[in-house]
Protein backbone atom coordinates (compact mmCIF):
# COMPACT_ATOMS: atom_id res chain seq x y z
CA UNK A 1 0.00 0.00 0.00
CA UNK A 2 2.86 2.34 0.91
CA UNK A 3 4.49 1.45 -2.39
CA UNK A 4 1.36 2.31 -4.37
CA UNK A 5 1.09 5.60 -2.48
CA UNK A 6 4.68 6.49 -3.33
CA UNK A 7 4.31 5.49 -6.98
CA UNK A 8 1.21 7.67 -7.22
CA UNK A 9 3.02 10.52 -5.52
CA UNK A 10 5.94 10.24 -7.90
CA UNK A 11 3.67 10.30 -10.92
CA UNK A 12 1.93 13.39 -9.61
CA UNK A 13 4.87 15.13 -8.09
CA UNK A 14 7.98 14.16 -10.01
CA UNK A 15 9.92 17.31 -10.85
CA UNK A 16 13.63 17.07 -11.49
CA UNK A 17 14.01 20.84 -11.18
CA UNK A 18 12.34 21.24 -7.79
CA UNK A 19 14.56 23.63 -5.88
CA UNK A 20 14.73 26.78 -3.77
CA UNK A 21 14.47 29.09 -6.82
CA UNK A 22 10.78 28.05 -7.09
CA UNK A 23 10.30 30.23 -3.99
CA UNK A 24 12.28 33.31 -5.03
CA UNK A 25 9.18 35.40 -4.30
CA UNK A 26 9.11 34.28 -0.64
CA UNK A 27 10.92 36.26 2.04
CA UNK A 28 12.06 33.72 4.64
CA UNK A 29 13.10 36.30 7.23
CA UNK A 30 9.86 35.99 9.22
CA UNK A 31 10.15 32.17 9.35
CA UNK A 32 13.81 32.43 10.38
CA UNK A 33 13.05 34.94 13.13
CA UNK A 34 10.27 32.71 14.52
CA UNK A 35 12.75 29.81 14.62
CA UNK A 36 15.19 32.05 16.48
CA UNK A 37 12.50 33.15 18.95
CA UNK A 38 11.81 29.48 19.80
CA UNK A 39 15.44 28.82 20.70
CA UNK A 40 14.71 27.98 24.32
CA UNK A 41 12.01 25.44 23.43
CA UNK A 42 12.64 21.77 24.20
CA UNK A 43 11.60 18.58 22.49
CA UNK A 44 9.35 17.31 25.28
CA UNK A 45 6.21 18.57 23.57
CA UNK A 46 6.48 18.36 19.80
CA UNK A 47 2.87 19.40 19.02
CA UNK A 48 3.30 22.66 20.92
CA UNK A 49 6.71 23.31 19.38
CA UNK A 50 5.33 22.75 15.89
CA UNK A 51 2.40 25.07 16.64
CA UNK A 52 4.66 27.83 17.95
CA UNK A 53 6.90 27.56 14.89
CA UNK A 54 4.18 27.53 12.27
CA UNK A 55 0.89 29.07 13.46
CA UNK A 56 1.80 32.64 12.42
CA UNK A 57 3.04 31.74 8.95
CA UNK A 58 0.81 31.59 5.89
CA UNK A 59 2.49 29.32 3.36
CA UNK A 60 3.67 25.72 3.69
CA UNK A 61 7.16 26.61 2.49
CA UNK A 62 7.52 29.24 5.23
CA UNK A 63 6.12 26.85 7.84
CA UNK A 64 8.57 24.17 6.71
CA UNK A 65 11.40 26.71 6.68
CA UNK A 66 10.73 27.68 10.32
CA UNK A 67 10.78 24.01 11.37
CA UNK A 68 13.90 23.26 9.30
CA UNK A 69 15.73 26.30 10.65
CA UNK A 70 14.82 25.36 14.24
CA UNK A 71 16.10 21.80 13.71
CA UNK A 72 19.35 23.01 12.08
CA UNK A 73 20.10 25.62 14.72
CA UNK A 74 18.94 23.83 17.88
CA UNK A 75 20.00 20.21 17.57
CA UNK A 76 23.68 19.46 17.90
CA UNK A 77 25.59 16.58 16.47
CA UNK A 78 26.76 13.98 18.94
CA UNK A 79 30.24 13.11 17.76
CA UNK A 80 30.78 10.37 20.37
CA UNK A 81 27.56 8.61 19.46
CA UNK A 82 28.32 9.02 15.76
CA UNK A 83 31.74 7.40 16.13
CA UNK A 84 30.36 4.53 18.26
CA UNK A 85 27.47 3.92 15.86
CA UNK A 86 29.75 3.86 12.82
CA UNK A 87 32.11 1.43 14.53
CA UNK A 88 29.36 -0.98 15.57
CA UNK A 89 27.44 -0.83 12.28
CA UNK A 90 30.62 -1.75 10.50
CA UNK A 91 31.43 -4.50 13.01
CA UNK A 92 27.96 -6.10 12.73
CA UNK A 93 27.40 -5.52 9.03
CA UNK A 94 27.31 -9.25 8.26
CA UNK A 95 25.42 -10.17 11.44
CA UNK A 96 21.85 -8.95 11.11
CA UNK A 97 20.80 -10.01 14.63
CA UNK A 98 23.61 -8.15 16.36
CA UNK A 99 23.01 -5.18 14.08
CA UNK A 100 19.32 -5.17 15.05
CA UNK A 101 20.21 -5.41 18.76
CA UNK A 102 22.67 -2.54 18.41
CA UNK A 103 20.11 -0.46 16.51
CA UNK A 104 17.50 -1.03 19.25
CA UNK A 105 20.00 0.00 21.91
CA UNK A 106 21.19 3.09 20.08
CA UNK A 107 17.61 4.15 19.25
CA UNK A 108 16.73 4.35 22.97
CA UNK A 109 19.92 6.26 23.62
CA UNK A 110 19.21 8.64 20.75
CA UNK A 111 15.71 9.58 21.91
CA UNK A 112 16.86 10.00 25.52
CA UNK A 113 19.69 12.31 24.43
CA UNK A 114 17.40 14.20 22.07
CA UNK A 115 14.94 15.14 24.79
CA UNK A 116 17.53 15.79 27.46
CA UNK A 117 20.35 17.49 25.56
CA UNK A 118 18.97 18.09 22.04
CA UNK A 119 21.98 16.09 20.82
CA UNK A 120 21.75 13.52 18.05
CA UNK A 121 23.16 12.09 14.81
CA UNK A 122 21.68 12.50 11.34
CA UNK A 123 18.67 10.22 11.64
CA UNK A 124 17.70 12.28 14.70
CA UNK A 125 17.71 15.51 12.68
CA UNK A 126 15.71 13.89 9.87
CA UNK A 127 13.29 12.33 12.37
CA UNK A 128 12.52 15.55 14.25
CA UNK A 129 12.11 17.45 10.97
CA UNK A 130 9.62 14.84 9.80
CA UNK A 131 7.65 14.73 13.07
CA UNK A 132 7.37 18.53 13.42
CA UNK A 133 6.34 18.81 9.75
CA UNK A 134 3.68 16.11 10.17
CA UNK A 135 2.18 18.10 13.03
CA UNK A 136 1.95 21.13 10.70
CA UNK A 137 0.24 18.95 8.04
CA UNK A 138 3.32 19.02 5.81
CA UNK A 139 4.32 15.71 4.26
CA UNK A 140 7.96 15.02 4.95
CA UNK A 141 9.88 11.73 4.63
CA UNK A 142 13.16 10.42 6.01
CA UNK A 143 15.41 9.23 3.18
CA UNK A 144 18.17 6.74 4.00
CA UNK A 145 21.12 6.34 1.71
CA UNK A 146 24.75 6.99 1.05
CA UNK A 147 26.57 10.22 1.77
CA UNK A 148 30.04 10.75 0.34
CA UNK A 149 32.54 12.96 2.11
CA UNK A 150 36.31 13.36 2.05
CA UNK A 151 36.73 11.42 5.30
CA UNK A 152 34.58 8.42 4.39
CA UNK A 153 36.46 5.78 2.48
CA UNK A 154 34.66 6.36 -0.79
CA UNK A 155 35.84 3.18 -2.44
CA UNK A 156 34.64 1.02 0.44
CA UNK A 157 31.21 2.45 1.15
CA UNK A 158 29.45 -0.87 1.67
CA UNK A 159 26.34 0.14 3.60
CA UNK A 160 24.00 3.13 3.89
CA UNK A 161 25.51 5.71 6.20
CA UNK A 162 23.34 8.83 6.06
CA UNK A 163 19.75 10.12 6.37
CA UNK A 164 18.14 13.25 4.95
CA UNK A 165 14.62 14.45 4.04
CA UNK A 166 12.23 14.93 1.16
CA UNK A 167 9.33 17.34 1.64
CA UNK A 168 6.16 17.84 -0.40
CA UNK A 169 5.43 21.54 -1.06
CA UNK A 170 2.82 22.72 -3.58
CA UNK A 171 2.52 19.14 -4.92
CA UNK A 172 6.24 18.83 -5.63
CA UNK A 173 8.93 16.91 -3.75
CA UNK A 174 12.02 18.80 -2.61
CA UNK A 175 15.24 17.65 -0.93
CA UNK A 176 17.08 18.96 2.10
CA UNK A 177 19.78 17.77 4.47
CA UNK A 178 19.41 19.26 7.97
CA UNK A 179 22.41 17.37 9.40
CA UNK A 180 24.94 18.58 6.92
CA UNK A 181 23.42 22.07 7.01
CA UNK A 182 24.28 22.36 10.67
CA UNK A 183 27.74 21.06 11.33
CA UNK A 184 31.12 20.17 9.96
CA UNK A 185 33.51 17.63 11.31
CA UNK A 186 36.53 19.40 12.66
CA UNK A 187 39.59 17.51 11.42
CA UNK A 188 41.84 18.97 14.10
CA UNK A 189 39.86 18.23 17.25
CA UNK A 190 37.73 15.33 15.91
CA UNK A 191 34.72 17.22 17.16
CA UNK A 192 31.94 19.11 15.45
CA UNK A 193 32.00 22.74 14.67
CA UNK A 194 28.64 24.42 14.38
CA UNK A 195 28.21 26.36 11.18
CA UNK A 196 24.87 26.71 9.40
CA UNK A 197 25.13 26.23 5.62
CA UNK A 198 22.09 27.63 3.85
CA UNK A 199 22.50 25.73 0.55
CA UNK A 200 21.12 22.43 1.93
CA UNK A 201 17.54 23.76 1.96
CA UNK A 202 15.47 22.68 -1.11
CA UNK A 203 18.57 21.76 -3.10
CA UNK A 204 18.76 21.23 -6.85
CA UNK A 205 18.32 17.39 -7.01
CA UNK A 206 21.01 17.05 -9.72
CA UNK A 207 23.55 18.78 -7.49
CA UNK A 208 22.40 16.91 -4.36
CA UNK A 209 22.95 13.58 -6.20
CA UNK A 210 26.69 14.28 -6.50
CA UNK A 211 27.16 13.26 -2.86
CA UNK A 212 23.76 11.83 -1.78
CA UNK A 213 22.43 8.52 -3.13
CA UNK A 214 19.17 7.14 -1.68
CA UNK A 215 18.59 3.40 -1.13
CA UNK A 216 15.40 3.84 -3.17
CA UNK A 217 16.58 5.45 -6.38
CA UNK A 218 13.22 7.21 -6.88
CA UNK A 219 14.17 9.59 -4.09
CA UNK A 220 16.87 11.16 -6.25
CA UNK A 221 13.79 12.91 -7.77
CA UNK A 222 15.58 12.64 -11.11
CA UNK A 223 13.45 9.94 -12.76
CA UNK A 224 15.17 8.69 -15.91
CA UNK A 225 18.05 11.09 -15.39
CA UNK A 226 19.05 9.51 -12.06
CA UNK A 227 22.72 8.53 -12.06
CA UNK A 228 23.60 4.87 -11.54
CA UNK A 229 25.10 3.89 -8.21
CA UNK A 230 28.39 3.20 -10.01
CA UNK A 231 28.55 6.72 -11.45
CA UNK A 232 27.69 8.14 -8.00
CA UNK A 233 30.66 6.23 -6.58
CA UNK A 234 32.88 7.68 -9.30
CA UNK A 235 31.69 11.28 -8.80
CA UNK A 236 34.01 14.02 -7.51
CA UNK A 237 34.13 14.82 -3.79
CA UNK A 238 32.16 17.95 -3.02
CA UNK A 239 32.31 19.55 0.42
CA UNK A 240 29.65 21.13 2.63
CA UNK A 241 30.75 24.58 1.55
CA UNK A 242 30.10 23.69 -2.09
CA UNK A 243 26.43 24.12 -1.08
CA UNK A 244 27.20 27.68 -0.07
CA UNK A 245 28.63 28.53 -3.50
CA UNK A 246 27.17 26.25 -6.18
CA UNK A 247 23.78 25.17 -7.46
CA UNK A 248 25.26 22.66 -9.91
CA UNK A 249 28.48 20.78 -10.51
CA UNK A 250 28.92 19.86 -14.20
CA UNK A 251 32.54 18.85 -14.98
CA UNK A 252 34.88 17.06 -14.33
CA UNK A 253 32.30 14.33 -13.90
CA UNK A 254 34.68 11.93 -12.19
CA UNK A 255 36.77 11.94 -9.05
CA UNK A 256 39.65 9.92 -10.57
CA UNK A 257 40.73 11.21 -14.00
CA UNK A 258 43.28 9.68 -16.36
CA UNK A 259 44.67 12.09 -18.96
CA UNK A 260 47.67 12.69 -21.20
CA UNK A 261 50.32 15.35 -20.76
CA UNK A 262 49.30 18.72 -22.31
CA UNK A 263 45.67 17.67 -22.20
CA UNK A 264 43.31 20.46 -21.21
CA UNK A 265 40.60 19.78 -18.67
CA UNK A 266 37.40 21.81 -18.48
CA UNK A 267 35.93 22.79 -15.09
CA UNK A 268 32.30 23.88 -15.20
CA UNK A 269 29.88 24.90 -12.44
CA UNK A 270 26.69 26.87 -11.80
CA UNK A 271 27.17 29.49 -9.08
CA UNK A 272 24.75 30.85 -6.48
CA UNK A 273 26.13 34.32 -7.05
CA UNK A 274 28.65 35.83 -9.46
CA UNK A 275 32.32 35.79 -8.53
CA UNK A 276 35.43 37.44 -9.94
CA UNK A 277 38.53 35.67 -11.15
CA UNK A 278 40.49 36.51 -8.03
CA UNK A 279 38.10 34.40 -5.92
CA UNK A 280 38.70 31.21 -7.89
CA UNK A 281 41.70 29.09 -7.02
CA UNK A 282 42.96 25.59 -7.77
CA UNK A 283 45.37 23.93 -5.38
CA UNK A 284 47.34 21.20 -7.09
CA UNK A 285 49.15 18.75 -4.84
CA UNK A 286 51.63 16.22 -6.27
CA UNK A 287 52.29 14.57 -2.90
CA UNK A 288 55.34 16.71 -2.17
CA UNK A 289 54.36 20.25 -3.01
CA UNK A 290 51.14 22.12 -3.36
CA UNK A 291 50.83 24.99 -5.81
CA UNK A 292 48.08 27.56 -6.05
CA UNK A 293 46.76 28.46 -9.49
CA UNK A 294 44.39 31.26 -10.46
CA UNK A 295 42.81 29.89 -13.62
CA UNK A 296 41.73 32.16 -16.40
CA UNK A 297 37.97 32.23 -16.36
CA UNK A 298 36.39 31.60 -19.73
CA UNK A 299 32.85 32.40 -18.74
CA UNK A 300 30.82 33.67 -15.81
CA UNK A 301 27.76 34.29 -17.95
CA UNK A 302 24.41 33.74 -16.14
CA UNK A 303 26.28 32.81 -12.97
CA UNK A 304 27.93 29.88 -14.68
CA UNK A 305 31.64 29.40 -14.10
CA UNK A 306 33.86 27.82 -16.76
CA UNK A 307 37.63 27.57 -16.92
CA UNK A 308 40.29 25.27 -18.40
CA UNK A 309 43.51 23.93 -17.00
CA UNK A 310 46.30 22.16 -18.90
CA UNK A 311 48.53 19.65 -17.16
CA UNK A 312 52.03 20.10 -18.58
CA UNK A 313 53.85 17.52 -16.49
CA UNK A 314 53.17 13.86 -15.88
CA UNK A 315 52.44 12.71 -12.35
CA UNK A 316 49.60 12.09 -9.94
CA UNK A 317 47.78 15.13 -8.58
CA UNK A 318 45.09 15.94 -6.03
CA UNK A 319 43.28 19.00 -7.36
CA UNK A 320 41.18 21.13 -5.00
CA UNK A 321 38.85 23.92 -6.11
CA UNK A 322 38.45 26.89 -3.76
CA UNK A 323 35.95 29.74 -4.11
CA UNK A 324 37.16 32.45 -1.76
CA UNK A 325 38.17 30.57 1.39
CA UNK A 326 35.66 27.79 0.82
CA UNK A 327 36.92 24.38 -0.24
CA UNK A 328 34.39 23.28 -2.86
CA UNK A 329 35.54 20.08 -4.59
CA UNK A 330 38.42 17.63 -5.10
CA UNK A 331 39.53 15.50 -8.08
CA UNK A 332 42.57 13.37 -8.76
CA UNK A 333 44.47 13.42 -12.08
CA UNK A 334 46.88 10.78 -13.28
CA UNK A 335 48.84 12.46 -16.07
CA UNK A 336 50.73 10.22 -18.51
CA UNK A 337 53.57 11.47 -20.67
Amino acid sequence: MTLIRYIALFIIAFQSNAQISDFDHIDFRKADSIALACKSEGLDNLPQLSYKLTSNLHTDVERFRAIYMWVCTNLTNDYGLYAKNMKNRDKYRNDSLSLQAWNDEVTKDIFRKLVKHKKTICTGYAYILKELSKLADIQCEIIHGYGRTSTINVAKLHAPNHSWNAVMLNNKWYLCDPTWASGLENPVSDSLKYEYIKGFFLVNPKFFAVNHYPIDQNWTLLGDQAPSFESFMEAPIIYGKAYRNLTMHSTPKKFHNFINRYQTVRFQYQLQKSVTQQHIRLEIDDGFNSKKIRPEIISTHDQSLTFDYTFNYDGFYDVHLFIGDDLVSTYTFKVKS
Partner: protein
Protein backbone atom coordinates in the same frame (compact mmCIF):
# COMPACT_ATOMS: atom_id res chain seq x y z
CA UNK B 1 -55.22 71.08 46.07
CA UNK B 2 -55.47 69.19 42.96
CA UNK B 3 -52.39 67.50 41.74
CA UNK B 4 -51.78 68.16 38.14
CA UNK B 5 -50.84 65.10 36.27
CA UNK B 6 -50.64 65.65 32.59
CA UNK B 7 -49.68 62.41 31.13
CA UNK B 8 -50.33 62.40 27.42
CA UNK B 9 -52.10 59.40 26.05
CA UNK B 10 -49.49 59.18 23.32
CA UNK B 11 -46.65 58.53 25.79
CA UNK B 12 -48.75 56.08 27.76
CA UNK B 13 -49.36 54.09 24.61
CA UNK B 14 -45.66 54.00 23.85
CA UNK B 15 -44.71 52.80 27.35
CA UNK B 16 -47.43 50.19 27.26
CA UNK B 17 -46.17 48.89 23.96
CA UNK B 18 -42.60 48.76 25.28
CA UNK B 19 -43.71 46.81 28.36
CA UNK B 20 -45.60 44.36 26.21
CA UNK B 21 -42.55 44.06 24.00
CA UNK B 22 -40.31 43.34 27.02
CA UNK B 23 -42.76 40.78 28.34
CA UNK B 24 -42.99 39.17 24.97
CA UNK B 25 -39.21 39.19 24.50
CA UNK B 26 -38.40 37.78 27.90
CA UNK B 27 -39.78 34.27 27.42
CA UNK B 28 -38.18 34.21 23.97
CA UNK B 29 -34.81 35.08 25.48
CA UNK B 30 -35.13 32.39 28.13
CA UNK B 31 -36.03 29.85 25.53
CA UNK B 32 -33.02 30.66 23.38
CA UNK B 33 -30.73 30.47 26.39
CA UNK B 34 -32.12 27.09 27.45
CA UNK B 35 -31.58 25.71 23.98
CA UNK B 36 -28.00 26.97 23.88
CA UNK B 37 -27.14 25.46 27.25
CA UNK B 38 -28.56 22.09 26.39
CA UNK B 39 -26.72 22.02 23.04
CA UNK B 40 -23.48 22.86 24.77
CA UNK B 41 -23.82 20.21 27.45
CA UNK B 42 -24.77 17.64 24.82
CA UNK B 43 -21.80 18.34 22.60
CA UNK B 44 -18.87 19.27 24.82
CA UNK B 45 -17.13 16.49 26.65
CA UNK B 46 -14.36 16.33 29.19
CA UNK B 47 -11.91 13.73 27.95
CA UNK B 48 -9.83 11.59 30.27
CA UNK B 49 -7.66 8.63 29.47
CA UNK B 50 -4.38 6.75 29.68
CA UNK B 51 -1.31 6.51 27.47
CA UNK B 52 0.71 3.29 27.44
CA UNK B 53 3.33 1.52 25.42
CA UNK B 54 3.81 -2.25 25.23
CA UNK B 55 5.54 -2.19 28.64
CA UNK B 56 2.95 -0.15 30.54
CA UNK B 57 2.12 3.47 31.38
CA UNK B 58 4.05 6.26 29.65
CA UNK B 59 5.03 9.21 31.82
CA UNK B 60 5.34 12.52 29.97
CA UNK B 61 3.51 11.72 26.72
CA UNK B 62 2.05 14.91 25.31
CA UNK B 63 -1.62 15.20 24.46
CA UNK B 64 -2.49 18.25 22.38
CA UNK B 65 -5.55 19.61 20.61
CA UNK B 66 -4.50 19.64 16.96
CA UNK B 67 -3.52 23.06 15.58
CA UNK B 68 -3.54 24.70 19.00
CA UNK B 69 -1.34 25.26 22.02
CA UNK B 70 -3.82 23.58 24.36
CA UNK B 71 -2.56 20.37 25.84
CA UNK B 72 -1.34 18.34 28.77
CA UNK B 73 1.07 15.53 29.58
CA UNK B 74 0.43 12.09 31.02
CA UNK B 75 1.38 11.37 34.66
CA UNK B 76 3.35 8.43 36.10
CA UNK B 77 0.28 6.19 35.66
CA UNK B 78 -0.01 7.30 32.04
CA UNK B 79 -3.23 9.09 33.02
CA UNK B 80 -4.42 12.48 31.81
CA UNK B 81 -7.42 14.77 31.92
CA UNK B 82 -7.62 17.08 28.94
CA UNK B 83 -7.77 20.70 30.26
CA UNK B 84 -10.47 21.87 27.84
CA UNK B 85 -13.91 20.44 27.13
CA UNK B 86 -13.84 19.03 23.60
CA UNK B 87 -16.40 18.87 20.84
CA UNK B 88 -17.07 16.03 18.41
CA UNK B 89 -14.68 16.42 15.48
CA UNK B 90 -11.81 17.85 17.57
CA UNK B 91 -8.58 15.93 17.05
CA UNK B 92 -6.19 15.02 19.87
CA UNK B 93 -2.55 14.34 19.00
CA UNK B 94 -0.71 11.85 21.23
CA UNK B 95 3.05 12.04 20.91
CA UNK B 96 6.18 10.91 22.65
CA UNK B 97 9.61 11.06 21.10
CA UNK B 98 10.54 7.65 19.73
CA UNK B 99 6.93 6.51 19.36
CA UNK B 100 4.62 6.77 16.39
CA UNK B 101 2.39 9.78 16.76
CA UNK B 102 -1.33 9.03 17.03
CA UNK B 103 -4.29 11.26 16.16
CA UNK B 104 -7.71 10.53 17.62
CA UNK B 105 -10.91 12.27 16.52
CA UNK B 106 -13.33 13.00 19.35
CA UNK B 107 -16.74 11.37 18.85
CA UNK B 108 -20.06 12.36 20.43
CA UNK B 109 -19.70 9.72 23.16
CA UNK B 110 -15.92 9.97 23.73
CA UNK B 111 -15.09 10.45 27.40
CA UNK B 112 -12.28 7.98 28.13
CA UNK B 113 -9.43 7.17 25.76
CA UNK B 114 -7.08 4.25 26.18
CA UNK B 115 -4.16 4.97 23.91
CA UNK B 116 -1.28 2.63 23.15
CA UNK B 117 1.70 4.20 21.39
CA UNK B 118 3.93 2.00 19.29
CA UNK B 119 7.68 2.31 19.13
CA UNK B 120 8.82 4.07 15.98
CA UNK B 121 11.18 1.85 14.04
CA UNK B 122 14.05 4.06 13.03
CA UNK B 123 17.19 2.93 11.33
CA UNK B 124 19.91 4.99 12.95
CA UNK B 125 22.53 6.27 10.56
CA UNK B 126 24.95 9.11 10.74
CA UNK B 127 27.57 10.47 8.39
CA UNK B 128 29.29 13.74 9.08
CA UNK B 129 30.06 16.35 6.52
CA UNK B 130 33.70 17.29 6.57
CA UNK B 131 35.79 20.16 5.28
CA UNK B 132 38.98 18.16 5.60
CA UNK B 133 40.68 18.19 2.19
CA UNK B 134 40.93 14.77 0.57
CA UNK B 135 44.48 13.46 0.42
CA UNK B 136 45.44 10.55 -1.83
CA UNK B 137 47.39 7.72 -0.30
CA UNK B 138 50.62 7.43 -2.22
CA UNK B 139 52.95 4.46 -2.29
CA UNK B 140 56.07 6.51 -3.06
Amino acid sequence: MKTQFNFPMKSFGLIAMMMIAILAYNPMYAQTQTTATSTQSNQEVTVKGTVNDENGPLLGASITLKNSKIGTVSDENGAFTFPKALQPGDVLVFSFLGYEMKEIKIQKNTSFLKVVLETDIVEILGALESNKPYKSKRSN
